[in-house]
Structures are given as structure tokens and as C-alpha cells.
């Protein structure tokens, strides 16, 4: 049975891809020329973190991570909106 081997477990491969792409997006957060670029990179990393919480919940069979994912998705929605509103009113 191939599925018993941990190296071909799809959850592990997906989590490795998520960490790798988060590191790539962190490049844009650090070296972005404008503020909007940094916010784009951070928002993308936030979405990857939500998917990673769901992966952890399925892997460990603990449903508390799903509630954490819902709360983090709402925070990830509100944070850029408040920052954008502040930047529009000051400019």
C-alpha cells in the first residue's frame, strides 16, 4: 500500500508547498517598493496560513484548529481594510 508511506502522504507534500511559497511571498514583503506591495504579500501569506490551519486540523484530528482558521480569516479580512481606509483618509 503506497498510502502508508509518509513521504507520499498528500498532506505532507501540500504543507511543504505552502511553506515554500510563503517564503517566496516573504521576499515581496521585505523588498516591496511601495506599501501596497507589502500588503499584497502579507495578505497572500495570511490565506496560506488559513489553509495550513485546516491541514493541521485534518492531520491531528483536532477540530479546535478549524475555529482558529475561521477567526484568522476574519482578521485577515479586517486588517487590510482598516489600513486601506486609514491611508485613504490621510492622503
Amino acid at each position: 500500500m503506497v498510502g502508508e508511506n509518509i513521504l507520499v502522504d498528500p498532506l505532507l507534500i501540500v504543507s511543504i508547498v505552502l511553506i515554500f511559497t510563503s517564503i517566496i511571498c516573504m521576499f515581496r514583503v521585505i523588498y516591496g517598493p511601495t506599501v501596497i506591495d507589502r500588503m499584497i504579500g502579507f495578505n497572500t501569506i495570511g490565506t496560506k496560513i488559513i489553509v495550513f490551519f485546516v491541514l493541521l486540523s485534518v492531520f491531528y484530528e483536532r477540530s479546535i484548529f478549524l475555529d482558529l482558521a475561521i477567526a484568522y480569516s476574519l482578521i485577515n479580512f479586517l486588517c487590510p481594510l482598516i489600513l486601506v481606509r486609514t491611508m485613504e483618509t490621510e492622503a
Binding site: 515554500f20 521576499f27 515581496r28 504579500g41 490565506t47 475561521i70 480569516s73 487590510p80
Partner: protein, 105 residues
């Protein structure tokens, strides 16, 4: 089998979105790559996890998170693009047409 196909599709979209976030020339095209990465990649992986767990309470919660991402991420992307245009960030030189500047001068 279905979840493996969705896992592969989601990982491919995630990798190409990350490459687009690094390589694209200005804010608006990077936002385009970021939006594809959010909705396409994340929704594919969440639907694959739903098919992986079967029909339980967990899969219903995962579907709730998928609907939240599907509804809330385009709002954030739209607000970011509008603020970038209002702050005077110009598109790249190879841009052909800018309809928002024509409609709201």
C-alpha cells in the same frame, strides 16, 4: 482520486501565483497573481480536504471556511487596487490602457 487531482491543481496554482508575485512588474499585475493564488489555490486545496475527510462535521466547517475565503478575499483585493490608484501609483510603461483614470479623473 478526486482529492489527489485537486491537491495537484491547488499546489500548481500556489507555485505559479508565488512566481507571479515575485516576477511581475507593478502593483496591479502582482495583485492579479495574488488573487489567483488566493481563490484558485486555496479553494482547490480546501475542496480536496473536504473530499479527503468525507461527509462529517469537519467537512462542513471546511466548506464554511471556503465560502468565507471566496467572499472576503476579492473585497480586500478591490480595496487594495483602489487605494493604490488613489495614492498615485502609476502602472508599468508597457500598460496599454487605464480605464479607471479615464472614468474617474
Amino acid at each position: 482520486m478526486l482529492e489527489l487531482l485537486l491537491f495537484i491543481a491547488g499546489c500548481t496554482v500556489m507555485v505559479f501565483g508565488a512566481v507571479g508575485i515575485i516576477r511581475f512588474p507593478d502593483v496591479y499585475t502582482r495583485l492579479h497573481a495574488s488573487t489567483k493564488c488566493d481563490t484558485g489555490g486555496a479553494l482547490s486545496i480546501l475542496l480536496a480536504l473536504t473530499a479527503y475527510t468525507g461527509i462529517t462535521l469537519t467537512s462542513i466547517k471546511i466548506l464554511t471556511i471556503a465560502v468565507l475565503i471566496f467572499l472576503l478575499n476579492p473585497v480586500v483585493s478591490h480595496a487594495l487596487a483602489r487605494t493604490a490608484h488613489k495614492r498615485g501609483i502609476k502602472p508599468d510603461k508597457i500598460t496599454v490602457v487605464d480605464m479607471y483614470a479615464r472614468d474617474y479623473p
